[in-house]
């Protein structure tokens, strides 16, 4: 193992400050200076500044807990914007974890098992990832319009879409956007799961086939355990986005009809009405973000720990 490492990386630096080592250090400084500086300014400073803003009064800049009080009020009030945003965010998160990911896994399996026209399907299924959300949403909105193709289909079956449209009602607006997210949400997962499945040793499948294994058993008992490292990584990534899960709210409703999510609410607070310079109300945004970060981090660490507990199959 150690031999492998010495073959793959540069030898560890010697304790003496030789000319060779100085050159190596200079090279590393030249290579890493800009990315590290960028991280220090645009990640570390920004996040530190965000924590400071959370404890500052927006007008006076004095130390205060007012922002947290405002956050709490909006969270516990039945009509509070943050409460609605949290509810919707959790809907999008659950959709990603319990609907999109399992379906993407099944789709990937059948593509891997070479269903007819699998190469074409793989390319077509990736299209939502390459087409601008602006274009996709424009088409989808027209499609679900009461006078659009969906309206015509619903009429054929004797039903009717409300005149204000599915996006015009608080009861249906979020679920309509969720449907859009499911429709367009498989592409990234399919790409990663297909990549993992391509590395499954063919001999294992051959032996299973000789035993007369069914496709369902093959997927659950052979393929799934073998691609578990990729699946668990994806699960961790979905949990990383626990409080930032969202759909293209700006393009659909601009947050109207109770469709706002935490990430959209943050965006709209910073963006304001689109005027140059934004809204300027960053303190409440920072306090809200800090609260969700404090809740989210232990959850993610727990999920990571849980995923690591499940043993991965070595092959």
């Amino acid at each position: 193992m150690e031999n492998d490492k010495t073959l793959l990386t540069a030898p560890a630096p010697k304790p003496k400050h030789t000319a060779k080592k100085r050159k190596e250090t200079l090279f590393l400084i030249c290579m890493l200076a800009l990315p590290v500086l960028q991280w220090l300014v645009f990640w570390l400073y920004v996040n530190f500044s965000s924590i400071m803003l959370a404890f500052q009064d927006q007008r006076t800049g004095e130390f205060t807990f007012t922002n947290f009080a405002m956050f709490w009020d909006s969270l516990i009030s039945p009509y509070g914007e943050i409460r609605i945003a949290l509810k919707n965010t959790l809907i999008y998160f659950c959709t990603s974890l319990f609907v999109i990911m399992p379906i993407a896994l099944v789709i990937s399996y059948f593509l891997y098992k070479r269903v007819i026209f699998y190469k074409g399907f793989r390319v077509i299924f990736y299209l939502p990832a390459i087409i601008s959300g602006v274009a996709m949403v424009a088409v989808f909105t027209n499609f679900i319009d009461p006078t659009g193709p969906l309206g015509t289909i619903v009429k054929l079956f004797g039903g009717e879409i409300p005149p204000e449209g599915l996006l015009g009602r608080p009861t249906t607006a979020t679920w309509t956007i969720v449907a859009y997210c499911i429709w367009t949400g498989f592409c990234g997962n399919i790409l990663l799961f297909s990549g993992a499945m391509a590395r499954v040793p063919i001999d294992v499948l051959e032996s299973a086939k000789l035993e007369g294994i069914s496709p369902t058993r093959e997927l659950l008992s052979i393929v799934f355990p073998l691609i578990w490292p990729t699946v668990s990584t994806q699960i961790i990534f979905v949990f990383t986005g626990l409080f930032t899960s969202s759909g293209p709210i700006l393009l659909f409703t601009n947050g109207n009809n109770d469709t706002t999510t935490i990430s959209f609410w943050i965006f709209s607070q910073v963006y304001g009405n689109g005027a140059v310079g934004g809204s300027g109300s960053y303190n409440l945004v920072s306090a809200t973000g800090l609260c969700f970060t404090v809740v989210g981090v232990p959850i993610i660490l727990f999920v990571r720990w849980l995923m690591e507990k499940i043993p991965a199959v070595e092959y």
Binding site: L7, L8, T9, A10, P11, A12, K23, E24, M31, P35, V36, Q38, W39, V41, W43, S50, F110, R114, I116, F117, F125, P128, I130, I131, S132, G133, V134, M136, A138, V139, N142, D145, T147, T152, A196, A198, I202, L205, E206, K209, S214, P229, T230, S232, T233, G241, F243, L250, F267, V270, G274, A275, G278, S281, V285, S286, F292, T293, V297, R304
Partner: protein, 319 residues
């Protein structure tokens, strides 16, 4: 010697062909019950594929209609029907007439948005992939004191979500004077950590250091090793990441809306144009603009779809 090499190549090629044939046989051959299941799945996939292709049909057909015809069709629920008269002039009109007003009260037309999309996406790709390559290479191939710290930062930044920092980021950019300035994407995209870093770190970790030793013996330096030996080998994953980053940057509307309001790209500009169109407005022209905006991505995707799929198939994500 030449004949021996040719013979070896032929054996290797035959082995490869046999392996592919074996794979094909195991993955494609199935019993009767499985055939029925795969038939059903094929129908489901076909319907889903059609649903994903319909938006293109919708966009293209409606982009060729007159505005009045589109209005009548949308009231009558006939938006999927072919145009009475194919108005290709909508595309020329979109280029000449579609516009939005920036903060200085100036009109920004579609060609300017196209130009903004081009430079913005190129900057995002170049800076993003370059920075990730630099950090991934150094952390994968060199052992130095801060290596562990930097690797920890890379993983920490990726997996621990800090929510709500966009307000502070916005404030910082305003104070630095890079808000609404073309310098902004250069600085914000030069981050060396993230998804690109992980992929390239895995790639560089698996390249043998013996190549570098050979260069050092010949009198070459660390720069020669990186630029002449390592970088050419890293082109395939870098190209894949660059294409994906380019598609992301081309379609990104929120960053431009938020930080570059006076430099609208096609994505952010078309969003703002859509906001100003009233019911009964010239939607076909807007659809023509949307078609123009998706042509470059579709073209790039068609050209490089094999590269994207293969590189992800070969590399995948390390869990």
């Amino acid at each position: 010697m030449e004949k021996v090499r040719e013979f070896n190549d032929t054996i290797l090629q035959n082995e490869q062909k046999m392996k592919i044939a074996k794979e094909g046989s195991i993955l494609s051959k199935r019993g009767r019950g499985a055939k029925i299941l795969f038939g059903i799945i094929f129908v489901v996939f076909l319907l889903y594929a059609i649903s994903l292709l319909l938006p293109f049909v919708f966009l293209i057909t409606n982009s060729l209609k007159g505005s009045l015809e589109y209005l009548e069709d949308s009231i009558a629920g006939k938006t999927m029907e072919m145009p009475d008269k194919w108005l290709f002039t909508n595309y020329i009109d979109a280029f000449q007439e579609m516009k939005m007003v920036n903060s200085r009260g100036q009109y920004v037309y579609l060609p300017a948005m196209l130009l903004n999309s081009v430079w913005y996406s190129i900057v995002c790709v170049f800076c993003g992939v370059a920075a990730s390559t630099l950090t991934a290479y150094c952390l994968a191939k060199y052992r130095f004191k801060l290596r562990g710290v930097l690797y920890g930062i890379a993983i920490f930044s990726m997996t621990i979500p800090i929510i709500g920092s966009s307000g502070a980021a916005f404030k910082l950019m305003y104070e630095l004077g890079i808000y609404n300035s073309p310098i902004l994407p250069f600085l914000t995209n030069f981050g060396g950590f993230g998804f690109n870093f992980l992929i390239l770190y895995g790639f560089f970790s698996n390249i043998s250091w013996s190549y570098a030793e050979a260069v050092f013996i010949d009198g070459g330096g660390h720069g020669t090793v990186f630029f002449k030996i390592m970088l050419p080998q890293a082109w395939p994953p870098m190209l894949t990441l660059a294409i994906m980053a380019w598609i992301g940057a081309w379609n990104d509307y929120m960053t431009c809306l938020l930080y570059l309001p006076d430099y609208p790209t096609l994505a952010s500009g078309l969003y703002r144009i859509k906001q100003s169109i009233t019911r009964g407005g010239n939607y076909p022209q807007y659809f023509a603009g949307l078609v123009i905006s998706i042509i470059p991505v579709v073209a790039i995707f068609i050209a490089f779809s094999d590269t994207i799929m293969q590189n992800f198939t070969v590399g995948g994500l390390k869990g």
